[in-house]
């Protein structure tokens, strides 16, 4: 073959490839674009910055019900309440206080209300060495036993702080021990975790140890041709609007053109 013939052959070959590619692009032979599966918005309780519990000081500040701290509605002033113990020397929690679970420490020595409460004045607390402490100042009582943790708390290394790190620009609120720990049963409570990252394709969920297909729900749509949903969208826009409101709380209005809303929230196979 002459050099000119070779060039022609290469050119013809390249032309054929380009024509095929161009046709492929124009006719969308690449296949339909993958749809995004609807992801429900995270529940707002996971965005809540409130502490696990409310301290006495919080209740006072908010002007809320303080009847739990009004001891002398039931108890008699000047007459220390009697404690009762069972055969194993365990404190019997009276029915009036049945909401209290005695679980402070695993050593069994916190088996007595008056380790912390003042028996002579129930509206006060007391340290083991007899210092009286107000309910609003309870961290000092906790610190009388938990020294190192108290030191960390004072320095801000333990516990919650919110507000301003720059104290010149604003205040920081340091939360008290009882904002997170129930003094009668101080272990930090376990809770439901917020949803983890959603997998791009539910099919992959089966292979992951944590994400289960059940969690993803059955409204997750399958790969469907772009043109077919476009055509369907034109005919059923009214239906879709209703469906969108009921089946998905995910509103994309403004973030994308209307077509994309349909793309993301609608199940075209229905």
């Amino acid at each position: 073959m002459s050099p000119g013939g070779k060039t022609s052959a290469v050119l013809a070959g390249l032309s054929a490839i380009f024509v095929a590619l161009a046709a492929g692009f124009l006719l969308d032979l690449r296949g339909p674009a993958a749809l995004l599966y609807p992801i429900p918005l995270v529940a707002t309780n996971f965005l809540d910055t409130a502490t696990v519990r409310r301290s006495y000081a919080d209740l006072v500040r908010a002007g809320d019900d303080l009847s739990d701290f009004d001891c002398y509605v039931c108890h008699e002033k000047g007459k220390p309440p009697k404690l009762r113990f069972d055969a194993d020397e365990h404190l019997i929690v009276p029915t009036e206080h049945s909401d209290i679970v005695m679980g402070h420490g695993s050593h069994g020595r916190n088996n007595n209300c008056f380790n912390c409460h003042n028996e002579n004045n129930l509206e006060l607390l007391q340290t083991r060495d007899g210092h009286e402490v107000k309910f609003a100042d309870s961290p000092a009582l906790c610190g009388s036993c938990h020294g190192p943790t108290y030191r960390d708390w004072e320095a801000g290394a333990h516990g919650r702080i919110s507000g301003y790190w720059d104290r010149d620009l604003g205040e920081a609120q340091r939360k008290a021990c009882v904002n997170c720990h129930n003094p009668h049963s101080p272990r930090f409570p376990s809770r439901q975790p917020a949803p983890g990252p959603h997998l791009l394709r539910p099919a992959a969920a089966g292979t992951s140890s944590g994400g289960t297909p059940a969690r993803l729900g059955n409204e997750w749509v399958s790969r469907v041709g772009r043109d077919s949903w476009r055509a369907a969208a034109k005919t059923n826009l009214g239906d879709l609007a209703r469906e969108d409101q009921s089946s998905s709380d995910f509103d994309l209005t403004g973030a994308r053109p209307t077509g994309a809303v349909v793309e993301l929230t609608r199940n075209p196979s229905r």
Partner: protein, 318 residues
């Protein structure tokens, strides 16, 4: 039959000099093919829904902007956001403070793996909800090991913490020696004097080199136009921080620059129910982070051996 004029019938070897039937056909075939291919390759542009305005296209590099330029840019961003979401945002460009270097400390003993930080971050920083972009990834690791290979981030139990596991949230470590900054071909990401590595979203070309360079998987790419529901948009924004991004740019944790440069704590710290997250100015000897680094068992900077020198420290109680 007259002899043809040599000038009218050129030598085939010099065919380019004049148009013959054959060369015309060949050239037009090649040209048509080329044009068709070009048209086909440009077709995706027709589907583009975020074509840059002249204003945005001609915008200067962040570091070269005068305060006047910045005021104009902020106005443009506010208009764009208002047009898109129907909410007038408050966009600021907060500068680093003097004598401040931010450090983050995370107490691994306290973290219960509830992922509240992940979602508080998404809400604060206007991240895309679908596809999901999250700056924080909470790893669950079995007790007795810090082997990241054994980590799992899709855990979904009824309640946390689970027996036998601890949790390690990973986000941008704000390295002192950031590999992501080194690889950026257009200097769209850099380290500020307060230690925050920032991104100019309008300068980023979306090459994703930084994503590949980051040893902490901390950078996220907007593969599609991000989608944020109107009612969840945070209107308190900053230029280098949480203003809405567009398709084709990188983003990552910036220590909530719009909060921290105004003196406030980051959103992930505010929401942490266990108080595991600590943040502050390391140059202030009385700050919480200074106390932690001095007194607590701070024993890892994640992937310390990489030489990245993170400003993110993991510590333990006891």
């Amino acid at each position: 039959m007259p002899t043809p004029d040599p000038n009218l019938n050129p030598d085939p070897a010099r065919a380019g000099a004049a148009v013959t039937r054959r060369s015309f056909l060949r050239t037009s075939a090649v040209l048509t093919t080329g044009l068709a291919a070009l048209a086909a390759s440009l077709k995706p542009l027709l589907e583009m829904n975020d074509f840059p305005t002249a204003e945005r296209f001609l915008q200067k590099y962040y570091k070269e902007m005068t305060p006047d330029d910045m005021a104009k840019v902020i106005k443009r961003i506010e208009n764009e956001v208002e047009h898109q979401y129907g909410i007038r945002p408050h966009v600021r460009d907060l500068k680093p403070m003097d004598g401040v270097e931010f450090v983050y400390c995370l107490n691994l003993t306290r973290c219960i793996g509830c992922r509240k930080c992940v979602h508080a971050c998404v809400a604060e920083n206007n991240q895309s909800r679908n596809p999901e972009i999250q700056y924080i990834r909470v790893l669950r690791l079995p007790h007795g090991s810090l082997d990241i290979e054994k980590a799992e981030h899709n855990y979904a139990p009824e309640s946390v913490p689970e027996k036998g596991y601890f949790y390690m949230p990973v986000q941008c470590q704000q390295c002192k020696n950031p590999p992501c900054v080194k690889v950026c071909p257009v200097h769209a990401t850099w380290q500020e004097t307060d230690g925050i590595t920032v991104i100019d979203y309008d300068w980023c070309i979306g090459c994703r080199y930084c994503e590949a360079a980051c040893p902490y998987w901390a950078r996220r790419f907007n593969f599609t136009q991000p989608s944020i529901p109107k009612e969840r948009l945070n209107p308190e924004m900053s230029y280098l921080g949480n203003r809405p991004r567009r398709q084709g740019v990188m983003e990552k944790c910036h220590f909530c620059i719009q909060r921290t440069r105004a003196g406030r704590y980051p959103a992930c710290l505010e929401v942490c129910p266990a108080g595991a997250r600590k943040f502050g100015n390391i140059l202030d000897p009385n700050s919480e982070v200074s106390y932690i680094l001095k007194n607590k068992r701070v024993f890892i900077q994640l992937k310390e051996e990489m030489g990245t020198s993170p400003r993110f420290f993991y510590y333990f109680d006891v």
